[in-house]
């Protein structure tokens, strides 16, 4: 078991390292000098060289790479190009906001998925099941910037119940969390439905019924526990969708999270900040997926043996 964990950690480190390398190479090898982006293409050549030297960008590529990795390992993401302030505290602060949004969205997603899945499976083939299927497909197809805009229009403009934008208290968290969560819920719900239908047709469920166990207990305890297993795998894959969905959702609701920060970096052409955001988002996704994998092994004894 401990050997498995070691191999697992090694893979985690390898992937994170590779992510950092890809981000570094993207930044440095793509055409166009960062000095052009910051100072403007028609700035003086000597100014550009001075700027490059000040940020250590005139050194050979492998020197830049080793100092970049060294700094990252120590939690130093460099400075913002526009004002020279360190990037790391900014990313940390914005990241907490994104986590707040993502955790709430995840809770929305799980509760809605349970509802979609259980109702869909118990009423399989009926009209309510088909209605749920259409609703799920709508939310799978509709991007968050459309559902978000619709929700904003209904709840903030028309009914005037919730604040339009920003992050003033928990009130302004409701809409973005719902919009972000419901898309994932639609996908998970469909998956839960089919795995629950399959589980409910198994022999041990019939045995439970014949012993006189109530329907609520059979579905809620006996069936759901097994039906949820494939869904946890999906959850690991969805952490990524959650994070990238957050980028667009944050733009729609002007939520001050990591996604908004990333788009600020894009519009200011601050590639240091941009790569910091990309590295954090990716490493978080890798770690979260790994965590879900460990969780899956814990829940499913068949997986632990392999």
């Amino acid at each position: 078991m401990s050997r498995g964990i070691l191999a697992f950690l090694a893979r985690l480190v390898f992937v994170s390292f590779a992510v950092v390398t890809v981000v570094f190479l993207l930044q440095r090898l793509l055409p166009g000098s960062p000095a052009d982006a910051v100072l403007g293409a028609d700035a003086l050549w000597s100014d550009k060289q001075r700027w490059l030297a000040a940020h250590g960008l005139d050194r050979p590529l492998h020197h830049q790479y080793s100092s970049y990795v060294q700094a990252l390992v120590q939690g130093d993401f460099g400075v913002r190009w526009i004002d020279g302030r360190p990037v790391a505290p900014l990313i940390a602060q914005r990241f907490l906001e994104t986590v707040r949004l993502a955790v709430c969205a995840l809770m929305v997603s799980i509760s809605c998925a349970l509802f979609f899945g259980v109702v869909g499976a118990l009423r399989a083939g009926t009209r309510s099941d088909r209605l749920l299927a259409v609703v799920s497909l709508f939310f799978i197809s509709a991007p968050t910037f459309i559902t978000g805009t619709i929700m904003l229009w209904i709840f903030s403009v028309w009914l005037d119940w919730l604040p339009l934008t920003g992050s003033q208290g928990w009130n302004s968290l409701i809409l973005p969390a719902f919009v972000l969560g419901i898309t994932l819920a639609a996908i998970t719900g469909r998956m839960l439905r089919s795995s629950l239908i399959e589980t409910l047709s198994q022999d041990y469920i019939r045995t439970a019924y014949s012993k006189g166990v109530s329907r609520l207990r059979v579905v809620g305890v006996h069936a759901l526990r097994n039906a949820l297993l494939p869904t946890t795998t999906l959850l690991g894959l969805q952490i990524g969708s959650l994070l990238s969905g957050a980028i667009i959702t944050e733009q729609v609701f002007t939520w001050p999270g990591l996604g908004s920060l990333m788009m600020e970096a894009v519009s200011q052409r601050d590639y240091n900040l941009l790569s910091g955001c990309v590295v954090v988002l990716s490493v978080v996704q890798v770690c979260a997926a790994a965590l879900v994998d460990v969780l899956h092994r814990q829940i499913d004894p068949r997986m632990a043996r392999t």
């Binding site: 890809v22 497909l137 910037f145 469909r190 788009m263």
Partner: protein, 285 residues
């Protein structure tokens, strides 16, 4: 040719599927329209008509969906947006398949070296959250058709490669493959003539799902301001512009949303029914 027979069966199965088929075909025709008759969809700036509400005047189609913040007809914008969405979508899916299928075949061909290399590459690319790599790439490369397609392909090829790899590994020990090998077929012939057709139906389903996904991703990039640029009327860009006038002129947001939704929903419905009838493992789910 059973694939095509099954496909025909799948596409004419029920009303929803037929309707989705109709929607997709209609949007395809609309997408080809500006190429055939460029003067049909004028995207002129007309400042006096700034943000005029929709008017249902039959003789003047340009006013049907109202006008945007510089007085361009929203109706013509929505129609031209179909070309952007579908051309980016189709090019990305084709390019992804052109990269993903050979790499998947190589990984599934049984040579461990390639397998490890390609699987690791996929692992690395998959560790970026879905939209993050395209955002970073278009931000660094700049917008434009080719850059958007490339940015979406970089992580887009993984799906088809995984599919082909899994299929090839499953087929490797089957009798007909051994028979082909015993008859002296070269490895390449075994892979592409004998094994690949078995993956065709799942690849087709994957193609229609990923077309919907790519169209959404392009709209998302354009919404974030990283799309094809101002000269191309993308639905995502229209939506992002409409957000500023949500209170006064909701028509700016409604029509591009409906267009995008109808196309993506139709593609997803099609993919769903293709999967239901082409993939025996999927069953009724």
């Amino acid at each position: 040719m059973t694939l095509f027979k099954n496909m025909r069966h799948a596409l004419l199965r029920d009303t929803v599927t037929k309707l989705s088929m109709l929607v997709v075909v209609l949007w395809l025709c609309v997408a080809l329209l500006p190429h055939a008759l460029p003067e049909l969809l004028p995207l002129d700036i007309d400042l006096p008509k700034t943000r005029m509400a929709p008017q249902w005047n039959l003789s003047e189609p340009s006013g049907w969906f109202g006008y945007d913040s510089v007085g361009t007809s929203v109706f013509y914008q929505v129609l031209s947006g179909a070309g952007v969405s579908l051309s980016v979508g189709l090019c990305t899916v084709l390019l992804s398949f052109a990269i993903g299928i050979p790499l998947g075949a190589l990984a599934g061909s049984g040579r461990r070296y390639f397998d490890v290399l390609i699987t690791r590459l996929m692992d690395i690319l998959l560790s970026f959250p879905p939209l993050v790599l395209p955002i970073a790439l278009t931000a660094l490369l700049g917008g434009g058709f080719l850059n958007v397609v490339v940015a979406l392909t970089v992580s887009g090829w993984i799906g088809s490669a995984k599919l082909v790899r899994a299929e090839f590994r499953a087929l490797d020990k089957r009798e007909f493959v051994e028979a082909a090998r015993a008859l002296g077929a070269t490895p390449r012939r075994v892979m592409f003539v004998h094994m690949l057709p078995h993956a065709a139906s799942s690849l087709l389903v994957h193609a229609s799902f990923s077309l919907a996904g790519v169209i959404l991703a392009e709209a998302g990039l354009s919404f974030l301001g990283l799309g094809l640029g101002d000269e191309h009327p993308s639905w995502g860009a229209s939506l992002s512009e409409a957000r500023a006038y949500l209170l006064e002129s909701p028509h700016l947001a409604i029509f591009p949303s409906l267009a995008l939704l109808s196309l993506v929903l139709a593609l997803n419905f099609l993919a769903e029914s293709l999967r239901a009838s082409l993939d025996p493992k999927a069953g009724s789910a």
